[in-house]
């Protein structure tokens, strides 16, 4: 179905050419094409990919923030020791941040996918519920009040990010 408007516009623009491209018949997608597109509808695949992307983002952020840390005993260490300390700091920081962001991405994507599949609608409500679940899961250790605050905060944050992404895509 998507091939028809292309061929029509080609026909209109090249009507002055000597050779017109033939009109293409309706092309129903084959099973491989459907399966290839369907892999992106699978909740597990989506959440794993989001988790990996979140992990990558966490790595980068952790590296960057870890590089900003200055060692405490700057006078007593040689240059090489400072470098080693700096590298360890950056590595620790980036690994812990990578894990946190990977979990965040995984939970958010899984929650959004499940909710959207159940509702069969593409709304902002999916983002709100997924953000609340993620925020609540992250701050679940602080008790019920911290869970509520984390839920509301992360839901608001994800709504803002979603609106920003919608406008700029």
């Amino acid at each position: 179905m998507t091939s028809n408007p292309d061929s029509d516009s080609q026909n209109a623009s090249s009507s002055q050419d000597a050779s017109k491209p033939p009109i293409q018949t309706i092309h129903l997608p084959t099973m491989e094409e459907i399966q290839g597109q369907d892999i992106w509808n699978n909740c597990a695949v989506r959440s794993v990919v989001s988790g990996v992307m979140g992990g990558g983002l966490g790595l980068a952020m952790g590296l960057f923030l870890g590089a900003l840390d200055n060692p405490l005993m700057q006078d007593q260490m040689t240059g090489r020791q400072q470098l080693i300390y700096q590298a360890k700091q950056m590595g620790q920081r980036s690994w812990s941040s990578c894990k946190a962001f990977a979990v965040m991405g995984f939970v958010f994507s899984a929650a959004e996918c499940v909710v959207e599949k159940a509702r069969a609608k593409h709304d902002i409500t999916n983002t709100v519920v997924a953000g609340c679940v993620t925020g609540g899961a992250i701050s679940a250790r602080g008790g019920p009040k911290a869970t509520c605050v984390g839920c509301a905060g992360f839901a608001a944050f994800s709504v803002v990010i979603e609106k920003f992404l919608e406008r700029h895509t």
Binding site: K117, A120, N126
Partner: protein, 84 residues
């Protein structure tokens, strides 16, 4: 086909006519199904070219229900011959 091995010309015409009618019926049903599920499930704003997951599962459910309704109505029409 109670006649011999090869159907006669008349029977062949009948079979071809039935196949044409069947083909028209199927094409009509496909068009109606596509139109109904598209207008029901896909939002008018067209923010992106790909189908969302929500739209995808909506279309799955729409097609499934439409097919069940078609079968059910066909059975009801087939079972009760005299009009009610």
């Amino acid at each position: 086909m109670a006649a011999g091995n090869a159907p006669s010309a008349h029977e062949r015409e009948q079979i071809i006519g039935m196949m044409e009618k069947e083909m028209e019926y199927r094409v009509d049903m496909f068009n109606k199904l596509t139109h109904t599920c598209f207008s029901k499930c896909v939002e008018n704003k067209y923010k992106e070219a790909e189908l969302n997951m929500g739209e995808n599962s909506c279309i799955d459910r729409c097609v499934s229900k439409y097919w069940q309704v078609t079968n059910l109505v066909g059975q009801l029409l087939g079972n009760s011959r005299p009009p009610m």
